[in-house]
Each structure stands twice: as structure tokens, then as C-alpha cells.
Amino acid sequence: MKVMKDLYYTKDHEWVKVEGDLAFVGIADFAQSSLGDIVYVELPEVDDEFDKEEAFGAVESVKAASDVFMPIGGKVVEVNEELIDDPALLNSDPYENWMIKIEIKDKAELDELMTSEEYEKFLAEEE
């Protein structure tokens, strides 16, 4: 299972990459692997605001639909349109292919997330 360093992770296998007051959000390798071939991605609109742990979109394989939750609260400033036409990008590289870019509401919420080392431990326990 691939885990990228310098990202924060949630128990639901979302990741956050912080760049100043902004952040990229996506799903981790474990999530895309569990789902299988992804055939559909639902993304929010720009300017939508979500709280931490609120569902902001969904990722679907033929077999199942999975909500994707905000690791931290924020306002959507950009969505990755490429995923609409080519959902399989999330399978090929779930870290390169971010889902949304947000303006962070409260940086303190990052403290509640797992570091890459903590997430690796978490994955080992899940197996």
C-alpha cells in the first residue's frame, strides 16, 4: 500500500497536502485499491463550503459508491475536472490526481489527523 510522506491522513483514507493557506484533498492508495476500477467521480462546485468530516463528493466503482469526506473544514477553490472524464486516473495515481483544492478554515484541525507514519501504522493494524 503506497503512503506518501508529508501528507496528512484520515481514518477513511483521505489525504491532505497543505500549501500555505490552501490544501489539496484526495483519496489514498488503500481507498482506490478497495474500490477497484473507478468509473464515476462526483465533485462539488467551486465556492461550496464544508465542515471537517462532511461529505464533499463521491467515488464509485461498478460495484459500490463511496462518499469522500473533508479531512478538515474549508471552501472549495478548485476541482479537478480531469476526473470527470477519466475517473480511472484515481486508480493510476491517487496522490498525483487530487480531487479538490480548498481554502483551509482552521489549521488547528490538521492536528487531529494522522501523519504519514501514523497512517502507515494504522494500515498495518487494519490488515
Binding site: 477497484g36 468509473v39 464515476y40 464509485e60 466503482s61 461498478v62 460495484k63 459508491a65
Partner: protein, 365 residues
């Protein structure tokens, strides 16, 4: 993961199967991937381990009489070695299970039932057999079952049997067929909408047959196939799944399966009175097909609305691998069931436009 294993569990793991717990059984939802396996069944062939399903033997002097009472189809009209699809219903018309009835002769039958319902079905049958001269035996634990499905299925299986498979017609069985030298019962049946065979064998023999089929099947493009594509295939073929299109609350008439309920047969059967009445009074809701016009994937349980009012729910929905579009079945208010009617499928609290269509998805793509 907790759960029961079929004799082929290790093979599924070896083949890279993604194991899930289905009705208490550890089975692969897919190996290579749902879509390639689905396409293999439609274009070449796929091999499924369906040993989790149940087999209940009903035998005795009054076997035919009992089954004609227990089941909705006309059992008295069955030929020896014929297989019919039928239901066991509750007195109110709801469904206990949908199943295949295999007739060996007037005094010996085997019912092939859904894995999730084996215990419920067995208890129901034991209860209802009071007063009939029959014996009932649950053979599920000793019976392994493989489903070989697809246009190449007959060519693949022919390599491992001595009989001429073209002699076995659709919905007929043959006992004592040696497959890879092992004694089996086979039937020309399946749950995919393609030609194919289901192979019934003792637990000791299934591994050899599984491996030999995969081996001779290589030249034909045979792939092992999991539970994931089993559901997408049957859905496209307009076949129901108990728990979604049928249940204690959804009767066969509502599900559009009246053909398998012989209301006019002479014998009384459990649920006959209620179903006859429903048929005369007219249904209040009906199973329809629909096609999504907006973006999204409809799934079982999603609400169906019309002008902001709830009119029913999706029973099965998928992004169909063969049709390559989002389609589904929905159980809705009969007044909204006309083909061409525009409805809304609620996906994550947002209405997505859809249109009612016929359910013959494979024939009318």
C-alpha cells in the same frame, strides 16, 4: 475475516481473488476486475464458484403433490430431467425465496435455493410438509456447484465430458455425467443471460473440475469470475435478485414475474388466494426499468421521486458494463410506470433525471 469457506477458497486466493463475506461465505467479489470478467462471460466464458448455494432434496410418494402446493409454478406439468424457475410464497403472496426445481422423477426433486436463505427455506419446507408422504434432506453442505457461462461454455465443457452436450436443452438436467472423470449432475441453466451449464458435484471432486475447466478454457478465453460480475450480468439479463427485486414485501406479480406463478393451475398453493385477489384487483406498484439521463450511478435503495414526491425506490442499479450507461430497476407507483415517463432518482439527496423504459436491457440496448 469470519465466514464459511467453499472447497475452492484457496484457489480463489491463489488466483488473486478479492475475498468478501457474502451471506456468511468467504468468496471472491472479483479476480482481475469486475468489467473484464463481465465481458468475458458475454463474449467468451466465465467460471463461477457458486457452492455457497443451497440444495434441498424432496423425495417420496407425494413429492409432486407437496411441491405443487409449496411452489407457485405448475410442478405437475414438469418432464423428468426438467428444471423450472419458481417461488415459494407466504400466504400473503410475498416471497420466501426464488429457486430452481430440478425434477429427476415424480418422486425425487432437488430445490436449488439462495445461499442467504438456506436455513429459512429448510425450516419453511419442514414446517409445510406436515401431512405429506415426503422426506426432506438438506444437502447443501455436501454439494459443490460451478457455473460455466458464456457463448464458449459448451465448447469448453465438451472437452471434459463424453456425452454430446447438444443433447441437453436449455432448462434440462442430466445426471451421472463424468466431468474430468468425476461423476456430476449438470444442467443447462445459469444466471447470466448467456448459454451455459451448472455443474453439481461432491465436495471432493470440485477442485479437479475447477482446475481442468480453467486449463482447457484457456484457449477459449475462459476467466474465473466473481460475485461482482455475477450481479451485473444477471441484472442486465432482467433476472431478479431475492432481497432486491423480490422479498417478503415484494411479491412476484409486482416484480413482473407473473409467468412463474400459475394462478390457474388446479392445485392450491401457498399464497394462491392472495395472489389471485391481487391479480383481479390490479397492482398498486410495479417494477419498471429506467435509464438515467443525467450524470450518476443509480443504486439499490435509492429513492425515486416525481415532482418532489416519493413514488418508489431503486431495486438494482448499475453503470452497465455491456450497455455502457446507467440503468436500473425500480419498484414504483403503478400510475407512474408508463414507458417514457420522466422520473427523478435521488442520488446523494439530489434529483437526477431518468426515463422509464422496458426491462429487456440486453435485447433493447
Amino acid at each position: 475475516m469470519d465466514g464459511r469457506k467453499t472447497p475452492l477458497y484457496e484457489e480463489h486466493v491463489k488466483l488473486g481473488g478479492k475475498i468478501v463475506n457474502y451471506a456468511g461465505w468467504l468468496l471472491p467479489v472479483q479476480y482481475e476486475g469486475l468489467v473484464p470478467e463481465h465481458e468475458a462471460v458475454r463474449n467468451q466464458a466465465g467460471l463461477f464458484d457458486v457452492s455457497h448455494m443451497g440444495a434441498i432434496r424432496v423425495a417420496g410418494k407425494e413429492a409432486e403433490k407437496f411441491l405443487d402446493y409449496l411452489l407457485t409454478n405448475d410442478i405437475s406439468k414438469m418432464n423428468d430431467n426438467q428444471v423450472v424457475y419458481t417461488f415459494m410464497c407466504y400466504p400473503h403472496g410475498g416471497v420466501v425465496d426464488d429457486l430452481l426445481t430440478y425434477k429427476f422423477n415424480n418422486e425425487e426433486y432437488v430445490l436449488i435455493v439462495n445461499a442467504a436463505n438456506i436455513d429459512k427455506d429448510y425450516d419453511w419446507i419442514m414446517d409445510k410438509k406436515e401431512g405429506f408422504d415426503v422426506e426432506v434432506e438438506n444437502q447443501s453442505d455436501e454439494t459443490s456447484i460451478l457455473a460455466l457461462q458464456g457463448p464458449e461454455a459448451v465448447n469448453i465443457l465438451q472437452k471434459l465430458v463424453d456425452i454430446d452436450l447438444s443433447e441437453i436443452k436449455s432448462f434440462y438436467l442430466r445426471r451421472d455425467v463424468k466431468v474430468a472423470g468425476i461423476n456430476c449432475m449438470i444442467s443447462r441453466t445459469g444466471y447470466t443471460g448467456e448459454d451455459g451449464f451448472e455443474i453439481y458435484v461432491d465436495n471432493e471432486g470440485v477442485l479437479k473440475i475447477w482446475n481442468e475447466l480453467l486449463e482447457v478454457g484457456k484457449d477459449f478465453g475462459l476467466k474465473p469470475a466473481g460475485l461482482g460480475c455475477r450481479d451485473t450480468l444477471r441484472f442486465e439479463a432482467t433476472l431478479p435478485l431475492y432481497g432486491q427485486e423480490l422479498s417478503e414485501e415484494i411479491n412476484p406479480l409486482e416484480a413482473g414475474l407473473k409467468f412463474f406463478v400459475k394462478l390457474k393451475k388446479e392445485a392450491d398453493f401457498i399464497g394462491k388466494e392472495a395472489l389471485v385477489k391481487m391479480n383481479e384487483e390490479g397492482l398498486k406498484r410495479k417494477m419498471v426499468g429506467f435509464e438515467l439521463k443525467g450524470r450518476g450511478i443509480p443504486r439499490d435503495g435509492y429513492e425515486v421521486q416525481k415532482d418532489g414526491k416519493v413514488i418508489g425506490h431503486v431495486t438494482t442499479g448499475y453503470m452497465s458494463p455491456t450497455l455502457k450507461k446507467s440503468i436500473g430497476n425500480a419498484l414504483i407507483d403503478i400510475n407512474e410506470s408508463e414507458i417514457g415517463n420522466e422520473i427523478d432518482i435521488m442520488i446523494r439527496n439530489k434529483p437526477v433525471k431518468a426515463v422509464v423504459r422496458d426491462r429487456k436491457f440486453l435485447q433493447n440496448r
